[in-house]
C-alpha cells in the first residue's frame, strides 16, 4: 500500500507536483497517467525517497521509504532503463544489487530467466537495446520478490511480444496480492493493463478511479448517422432538424454525421419525421484514450506547433494564369468538420456556418474550453484513436 498525502515538490519557481494525495492498493494494477512533464517520475522518485518532498509525505506500508526496514525486500522499482553502468555485465549488475540487499545470489539467475535475458547475462549492458534494458530493469525490480512494485514507463522500447509479456507479468504480480504501480503516458496500454487509474496533469490530481468508472465519467458517447450519398439536401435537412431538436452535429470525413445529445431512437424518429432515409445509425463509445485526452487537453506542457516551413519552401509553380498549379477546388462547407487532430470542445448549438465561409481549417483555432473537462459535455472526436472498427 502506497499512500501519498499532500505531496508537493517545487524546483525553484516551478511546481512539479502540487498537493497530490492518493492511495495505491494491493491486489490491483494501478496506472499512473499524465502527459510528459506532469510530475509522474518526480512522484515516483519521492515514493522511493530519492527526492525529498517540499511538503506533504508519502509512505509505503506506513513507513517513509528511507526508514523502511529491508526496503529492497519490500519495494522493487524500475525507474529508468538507463540506470545501469554500461561496462558491467547484466549478471554482475544484478549480482551487485542482490548483494547490497542481502538477497541470495541464486536469485539473480532466477530473475534473469523471468525476464528472458539468461542468454545475454554475460554481456556488457552497453550493447543492450532499449527493450533489453527495460527487461534488465524489470529483473532488478523483481530481485527482492517485493510486496510493492513501481514501474516507470515499463513498456518503452519493448517489442509487441515484450509489451504483451510485460502486461501479463504486471497482472499476475497484482493477482498474487502485490501492489503494482505503473506509470505511463500510453493510455491505450493502461486500458489493457490497469484496474485502477490515477491521472495527473501539471502535478495535480485529475482523477482517481477505476478504469471503467474513468471511461464512463470522462467519455462522451455519440451516434454516427449516414444518409444516402445522392442527396446532399437530405443531409442538410436532417442536420437542421437534429439541431432544432437540441442535438449537436459534426461532419465526419466519410460524409457521415456525428450526433451527440440525442438518444438513438430519437434520431431515428426525427429522421423519419423529416422523411430522410438513413443508411447507418450506430452507437459509439469513446475509448480510454479519448477520455484521457479530454481530461488532460488543457494541461499538456509540450504542445507541438505546425511545422509550417514558413518562408523556407520554394514558391509553388504558377500556371499560365498566375494561379498555383494543383490548387484545391473549393469545397462547400458542411456541418462542422470533425477535427483530424487535436481536441476541442464542440461549438454550442446555434447557427451553422454558412456554406462558403469555410469551417475552421485548424483545430487549434478553437480554444480548449473548460466545458470540455466536464463529463457531460458533448463529444469531441478522435478519428485515429476511436476504438470502433471502421
Amino acid at each position: 500500500m502506497i499512500e501519498a498525502v499532500g505531496l508537493t515538490k517545487r524546483y525553484g519557481a516551478k511546481t512539479a507536483v502540487d498537493d497530490l494525495s492518493f492511495q495505491v492498493r494491493p491486489g490491483a494494477v494501478t496506472g499512473f497517467l499524465g502527459p510528459n512533464g506532469s510530475g509522474k517520475s518526480t512522484t515516483m522518485r519521492m515514493v522511493l525517497g530519492l527526492d525529498r518532498p517540499t511538503a506533504g509525505h508519502v509512505t509505503i506500508g506506513g513507513h517513509p521509504y528511507r526508514s523502511l526496514p529491508n526496503a529492497p525486500r519490500q519495494v522493487g522499482a524500475l525507474l529508468d532503463a538507463k540506470g545501469v553502468h554500461g561496462g558491467r555485465t547484466a549478471r554482475n549488475h544484478l549480482l551487485s544489487l542482490a548483494q547490497l540487499a542481502g538477497i541470495p545470489a541464486a536469485r539473480v539467475d532466477e530473475v534473469l530467466g523471468v525476464v528472458g535475458l539468461q542468454d545475454v547475462a554475460k554481456r556488457r549492458t552497453s550493447g543492450f537495446s532499449l527493450g533489453m534494458g527495460q527487461r534488465l530493469g524489470i529483473a532488478a525490480a523483481l530481485l527482492g520478490d517485493p510486496q510493492v512494485l513501481l514501474f516507470d514507463e515499463p513498456v518503452n522500447g519493448l517489442d509487441p511480444e515484450g509489451i504483451h509479456w510485460a502486461r501479463n507479468l504486471m497482472k499476475s504480480l497484482a493477482a498474487e496480492g502485490r501492489t503494482v504501480f505503473v506509470s505511463s503516458h500510453l493510455m491505450s496500454e493502461m486500458a489493457l493493463t490497469a484496474d485502477h487509474l490515477i491521472v495527473i496533469g501539471r502535478g495535480r490530481l485529475l482523477s482517481d478511479m477505476s478504469v471503467t468508472d474513468f471511461i464512463s465519467a470522462n467519455s462522451a458517447d455519440f451516434a454516427r448517422v449516414r444518409v444516402p450519398d445522392d442527396g446532399p439536401e437530405d443531409r442538410q435537412k436532417l442536420t437542421s432538424t437534429l439541431i432544432e431538436a437540441g442535438g449537436r452535429v459534426m461532419s465526419e470525413p466519410g460524409g457521415a454525421l456525428r450526433v451527440t445529445g440525442l438518444p438513438l431512437p430519437r434520431i431515428s424518429e426525427l429522421a423519419h419525421k423529416c422523411d430522410v432515409r438513413l443508411w447507418e445509425l450506430s452507437p459509439h463509445q469513446a475509448s480510454l484514450e479519448e477520455a484521457y485526452m479530454r481530461l488532460t487537453q488543457g494541461l499538456v506542457d509540450y504542445r507541438s506547433t505546425d511545422d509550417a516551413k514558413a518562408g523556407l519552401a520554394e514558391p509553388p509553380p504558377l500556371d499560365a494564369y498566375g494561379h498555383p498549379v494543383g490548387g484545391h477546388a473549393e469545397l462547400p462547407a458542411e456541418p462542422l468538420e470533425v477535427p483530424q487532430e487535436g481536441w476541442y470542445a464542440p461549438p454550442p448549438p446555434g447557427p451553422r456556418p454558412t456554406p462558403g465561409s469555410g469551417a475552421p481549417a485548424h483545430p487549434a483555432a478553437a480554444e480548449p474550453s473548460a466545458a470540455a473537462v466536464e463529463p457531460s459535455s458533448a463529444a469531441t472526436a478522435g478519428e485515429q484513436t476511436s476504438k470502433d472498427p471502421r
Partner: protein
C-alpha cells in the same frame, strides 16, 4: 530473445488478491554493511576502469622507479648518502593521478550512468553505501600501491648500494605510501560524491595535487612568503617526499605526519559527502 510464459490467472485474482498481502517465500534478513561491501566489491571488479587505472599506476611506478634506479646506476651511482628508497617518489607522484581518477569514478560513474538511483533504491542508507565504497576502494588501492611500492623499493636497493635504510624508513616508503595514496583516493571519492560529476571532480583533484607547487614560485612578494612556504611544504608531492624522507624544504610535515593529515582530510570529505547525500535529492 525469448520470453518465458507468465501465468495468466487473472480470473482468480479478486477475492484472493484483495484480502491477502503477498509474502515472499525467500527468507528476509536485514542487509548489513558487509552486504554492501560485497556489492561494492562486485561493482569495482566488474568495470574496466579499475583495471585500467590501477594497471597504469603499477606500470608507471615500476617503469619510472626501475628506470631511475638503472639511470643512476649507469651514472656511477653516487647517491650522496641518500637512501635509495627515495627514488620511488617519481613513480608514486604520477601514479597518484590514476588513483585519484579511480576514486572519483567509483562514485562519479554511478551519477554519470544513473546507477546511483538504482543503488540508493536498493539501499536507502546513503552512509552505508558510501562507507562500503570507501572500505572496498581503500583496501584495494592500499594493497596494490603497497605491493608495487615494495617491489620498486626492493629492486632499487638491489640495483643501487646507497645508505642502508632502517626498518622505519622501509615501513614508511611501502605501507606509508600505500596508506597515503589510498587516503588521497578516499579524498577524491568524497569530492566525487559532493561534485557528482567525474570530469569536474578529477580536475579539482589534479588541481589540488599540482596547483600549490605551480603557484608557489610566483609568490615573490615579501608578505606572501609565509603562504608560499606553506603551499610548498604542504603540497601533496612534498608530503609524499616526506614519507620517503626526501623533502624540498627542511621544515614541514615529516615522518607519519603527512599520512595523518591526508587521513584527516579524507575523513572530512567523506563526512561532508554523507551529510550532503542525506540532504540532497538524487
Amino acid at each position: 530473445m525469448t520470453s518465458p510464459a507468465t501465468p495468466q490467472d487473472r480470473e482468480q485474482a479478486p477475492g484472493a488478491g484483495l484480502l491477502s498481502f503477498y509474502e515472499s517465500p525467500i527468507p528476509i534478513r536485514p542487509a548489513t554493511l558487509g552486504d554492501a561491501v560485497a556489492s561494492e566489491w562486485t561493482k569495482l571488479r566488474s568495470v574496466r576502469a579499475t583495471v585500467w587505472t590501477l594497471g597504469v599506476m603499477v606500470v608507471l611506478m615500476l617503469t619510472i622507479g626501475l628506470g631511475t634506479a638503472l639511470l643512476v646506476a649507469a651514472n656511477d651511482g653516487n647517491l650522496a648518502g641518500e637512501p635509495s628508497l627515495a627514488l620511488g617518489f617519481f613513480g608514486v607522484v604520477l601514479g597518484s593521478i590514476c588513483v585519484i581518477t579511480l576514486g572519483v569514478l567509483t562514485i562519479g560513474s554511478e551519477y554519470g550512468t544513473g546507477m546511483i538511483r538504482t543503488t540508493l533504491t536498493a539501499c536507502p542508507s546513503r552512509a552505508r553505501v558510501l562507507a562500503a565504497k570507501a572500505i572496498v576502494f581503500f583496501s584495494l588501492t592500499f594493497v596494490v600501491t603497497t605491493v608495487t611500492a615494495a617491489v620498486v623499493a626492493g629492486s632499487q636497493t638491489l640495483i643501487l648500494d646507497g645508505a642502508p635504510a632502517s626498518a622505519g624508513e622501509w615501513l614508511l616508503s611501502t605501507v606509508g605510501i600505500g596508506l597515503y595514496i589510498a587516503a588521497l583516493g578516499l579524498l577524491s571519492l568524497g569530492i566525487g560524491a559532493i561534485v557528482r560529476h567525474s570530469a569536474g571532480a578529477i580536475t579539482i583533484m589534479i588541481g589540488v595535487v599540482l596547483l600549490p607547487l605551480v603557484l608557489a614560485p610566483f609568490m615573490f612578494a615579501q608578505d606572501l612568503r609565509g603562504l608560499q612556504r606553506f603551499l610548498i611544504e604542504y603540497s601533496i608531492p612534498n608530503q609524499l617526499g616526506a614519507l620517503y624522507g626526501a623533502t624540498i624544504t627542511e621544515s614541514g610535515p615529516s615522518g607519519w605526519e603527512p599520512l595523518m593529515l591526508m587521513l584527516g582530510l579524507a575523513a572530512l570529505a567523506l563526512g561532508g559527502a554523507v551529510a550532503v547525500l542525506n540532504r540532497r535529492d538524487v
